[in-house]
Symmetry: C2
Subunit: 203 residues, 2 copies
């Protein structure tokens, strides 16, 4: 789940690119607290009125940065094994969450301050997890997993420890965690942990 990327286009798209790049640069350098519409407009070299009209407020800018991140061609790793794919995915997550400048971490933090950013962050995660479901269907086809494995629950189980450690518990990055969390989820999945329908087996 790589950081947001810029994209090409016409004049309107070029202004958007300039503004969103300025948001990312400010966010990386100063975090949410330094982020104002005027600072972004100045850094982007774009008219203030244009920025206000098009994005409304800082939350609108952050939401657009997050929405733009979904416009890429990102695909999850395809290594030939479930554990390998999940481990590769977890390494990408750990790299993104510990990158310098800490843009992904700053966007997640900002989503606790702006409802618009929070909703856009949710859309981005939904997009990324949806793209990752192919990792599970490939594993089912290879016979690594039982049919009817719940892809989303498996993907959450595999990736949640990374987010929990790095975003909430804020422990120093553990270089072994991406592989461990991947192996743990794959082991549970092979044992059928994600095959029952959610309404069965619980009290």
């Amino acid at each position: 789940m790589p950081p947001p990327q810029r994209r090409p286009g016409g004049r309107t798209a070029r202004i958007r690119t300039q503004v969103l790049d300025a948001v990312l640069a400010e966010l990386g350098e100063r975090g949410y607290d330094g982020l104002t519409m005027d600072v972004v407009a100045a850094r982007a070299g774009v008219n203030r009125a244009t920025v206000y009209r098009r994005w409304g407020d800082v939350g609108g800018l952050l939401a657009d940065v997050l929405d733009a991140a979904s416009d890429d061609a990102w695909r999850p790793p395809d290594t030939g094994s479930l554990t390998g794919d999940l481990a590769g995915l977890n390494h990408e997550i750990q790299d993104a969450l510990t990158a310098e400048p800490p843009i992904v971490a700053a966007l997640i933090a900002a989503s606790f301050r702006s409802e618009k950013a929070a909703q856009a962050q949710q859309r981005l995660w939904e997009d990324r997890y949806a793209r990752c479901e192919i990792v599970v269907s490939r594993a089912v086809r290879r016979g690594e997993l039982p049919p009817h494995t719940d892809a989303r629950r498996l993907l959450i189980a595999a990736t949640a420890p990374l987010y929990h450690h790095l975003v909430l518990l804020r422990t120093p990055p553990d270089p072994h965690l991406p592989d461990h969390a991947a192996r743990t989820a794959a082991l549970a999945a092979s044992a059928g942990a994600f095959t029952e329908p959610p309404s069965a087996g619980d009290t």
Copy 2:
């Protein structure tokens, strides 16, 4: 992992209780944005100067609320089985994260705005996870788990999906998730997912 609780004591302790209760009440009603030293002092009926001298700023107040939460006698569930204990723990987490007023959720959100609050939140989680390790040692003694199971990694795997869904992905609470996440982690643990030393088995 229950919400912070008040505690008895002498006059200094009584002022602390009044102030921390006021912080919790304000946080529950208005969230971080409505929280100021003056609002808290007024609500607590405590002299403003006392509040400033003792807690310094809003971050100091939040940090003390979180530190006070560790002064309780909380223990993890003891149901007689690993899956039962982990499920009980996950239900407590889900209840705390979805409670109204949303005090635990507001404290976590505040930890993205104040470094002092973030450090106190980390201390609280460290305290809670340390208290939970007995769940794993009891399961090892009962023969449910292999010896040398890494308690912390197992506890993180069991609880991380709850935090990921409710705090980051902000999906609606799934009544089955506490049990599912517990069963998944227990299954992986029985299969030995948490027994290897962290430096072995990875590439």
